[in-house]
Amino acid sequence: MNHVVQCEKVTKIFEQGLIKVNALTDVDLAIEKAEFICLSGPSGSGKSTLLNMIGGLDTPTSGEVYIDGEEIDELNKSELADLRLHKIGFVFQAYNLIPVLSAQENIEMVMQMQGVSKKERNEKSSAILEEVGLQGMEKRIPPELSGGQQQRVAVARAIVSRPSLVLADEPTANLDSVTANKLIDLMLQMNEIHKTTFIISTHDPMIMQRSKKLVKLHDGRIIDIT
């Protein structure tokens, strides 16, 4: 199995009192290394739920999810945390950064949790800040950065420790079109340079157009892959 991600018959049912909602139904998906994939679909189609399953933030009701060939259902909370720490980077729609840490500290946080030395952290964070065009803003805390700049820091943090996979949930939803375009440029560039796999859930047609693979979801099922 050479896939970075493999989902087999993944089903997720949320129970709200007596009502059961099928967020995902029998989803099969295989993603290879260095792909740049977009999950699209209307609200409630299951995009975020699928990303949460792949990222190990939630567990499927049935079916299996494999990351680099490892079945994540088999892992306990601590092992899941380790998997996310070493193999997966996340970019969320908002509230992406820790407000009490500076841009550089936010980027170094994951490496610090991994036990990377201070010198190496400094070198890598400085380099990635330059790559995402935020040199000179190392010491700024999130409230002192614009929305676009904060998302750049989030992308930098997601890729700085070279994970095999980056999951981005509606990363441009709170950005204007120019800033959103720049962010996508950045992610594509990271995908090209570092061969990092990106899975992005979005409503944004511009991202859909620029993605290399488009997975369409509707009512919790994959209806098309182009």
């Binding site: 975020s48 380790d82 996310r84 969320f92 840490l101």
Partner: protein
């Protein structure tokens, strides 16, 4: 180590994220710690003063009597002060000073009144060093020698007997043949003791004069010892009490058992007080941390998404509580120290002085901070505070990342 530094840095910065809220709860901790320590210092001061007054008030640290004396304090229950055992005790290096006494129940008669008292036949040179009498004679003089034929009585007794300095009074007691012995004494001094009951109860005469009056030849009723340190009392008493079965070596706690009871009662009251203060504090700590956890739910979800293990999240929130408690303890201890220093020799409670005399206390209460009291107050706040902080921390660590991240 890297993770710990990160967690420490996050905990410290998050503590000051909402400065006003943190300062309010810190103020509560500081005041709580201050109230604990200052109250303990006041109560310990009361105990200290009570002990000092008791020791000064004739009891000393250790008393030696004939083994039957406390059951029947008559003249026949006396002992030889020159025995080898007594010599060994009085020469022990732990003994700071000592005084030998003939102590007898007696009746005093003036021209107008009669009352029961305790007659103390003393060696004035030794007695004036060990008990209050050395600095309490306010009219006339103290006794010059053991063979002085004068008598020194308390101001309150003089008032009661309607007599005064220079007048004669008569003491009656029982001699060694169980006959009535009496003798007239001229009042050569009047003393003013810290406590009125003492003034009414004790009269001082020369030891040799008293011995002649009751026919005692060389024997005495008691020896009172003052040691270098109260901690030496129990070991010395335990050791010396086994030397000779015809004498009793007793600590002041055995002589005045209600004092030990009061000390125990104060210790218990202090601990209950600590718990009450802490309970008030605990609600503040829990509330502050739960608010912080609630406000930062998404952040905890993000931490988990980025790979932070639940136990690190628990430790991060717990560390916030610990840091808050440490800062509160430091400030509380400092404030307590300043407060106690500001009181100087103590506070005057003369408004209540009459009531205080009932429990052997004078009217200036010093503030006494002991290492043990400091430790108990600090450990109570630290340990219970840390336990209190565990609940909000546990709540934060139990969040499901997918839910936490989407929580509004």
């Amino acid at each position: 180590m890297n993770s710990f530094l990160l967690i420490f840095s996050l905990a410290w910065r998050n503590l000051w994220r909402n400065k006003r809220r943190t300062l309010v709860i810190l103020l509560a901790i500081v005041l709580g710690v201050w109230a604990m320590i200052v109250t303990a210092a006041f109560m310990r001061g009361m105990i200290f003063q009570m002990l000092e007054d008791t020791v000064d008030n004739l009891a000393g640290h250790v008393q030696i009597h004939h083994s039957q004396y406390l059951d029947d304090p008559v003249i026949n229950n006396s002992f030889d002060p020159d025995s080898h055992t007594i010599s060994r005790i009085t020469h022990d290096p732990r003994v700071l000073m000592w005084s030998d006494r003939i102590r007898l129940p007696a009746v005093v008669l003036s021209e107008r009144e009669t009352t029961g008292i305790t007659m103390l036949g003393v060696n004035p040179a030794r007695e004036s060093k060990i008990s209050f009498i050395g600095k309490s004679v306010v009219e006339g003089r103290f006794l010059n020698s053991s063979s002085d034929t004068g008598i020194v009585i308390g101001q309150a007794l003089a008032d009661k007997l309607e007599t005064r300095l220079g007048k004669r009074i008569v003491l009656m007691s029982q001699d060694i043949n169980n006959e009535i012995a009496d003798r007239g004494f001229r009042i050569v001094g009047i003393y003013d003791a810290p406590l009125d009951p003492t003034e009414k109860a004790f009269v001082f005469v020369g030891k040799e004069t008293a011995a002649k009056m009751v026919g005692l030849k060389g024997a005495i009723s008691e020896i009172v010892l003052r040691l270098h340190d109260t901690d030496m009392v129990t070991p010395l008493v335990t050791e010396m009490d086994q030397l000779d079965h015809t004498i009793d070596v007793m600590s002041w706690l055995e002589v005045e058992p209600y004092l030990e009871l009061m000390i125990q009662m104060m210790d218990t009251s202090m601990f209950i007080w600590y718990l009450i203060v802490f309970l008030a504090m605990a609600f503040g700590i829990i509330n502050t941390l739960l608010m912080a956890v609630f406000e930062r739910t998404r952040e905890f979800g993000l931490f988990q998404a980025l790979g932070q293990k639940p136990r690190f999240i628990l430790f991060q929130v717990w560390l916030e509580a610990i840091l808050m408690i440490i800062v509160g303890l430091l400030a509380g201890n400092f404030l307590s120290w300043i407060s106690v220093m500001a009181t100087g020799d103590g506070i005057d409670v003369s408004v209540f002085a009459r009531g205080m005399e009932m429990i052997n206390m004078s009217n200036i209460i010093p503030f006494v901070i002991t290492f043990n009291d400091l430790m108990i107050a600090n450990i109570t706040v630290a340990v219970l505070g840390m336990l209190t902080g565990l609940y909000p921390a546990w709540r934060a660590s139990r969040l499901v990342p997918a839910d936490a991240i989407t929580r509004i």
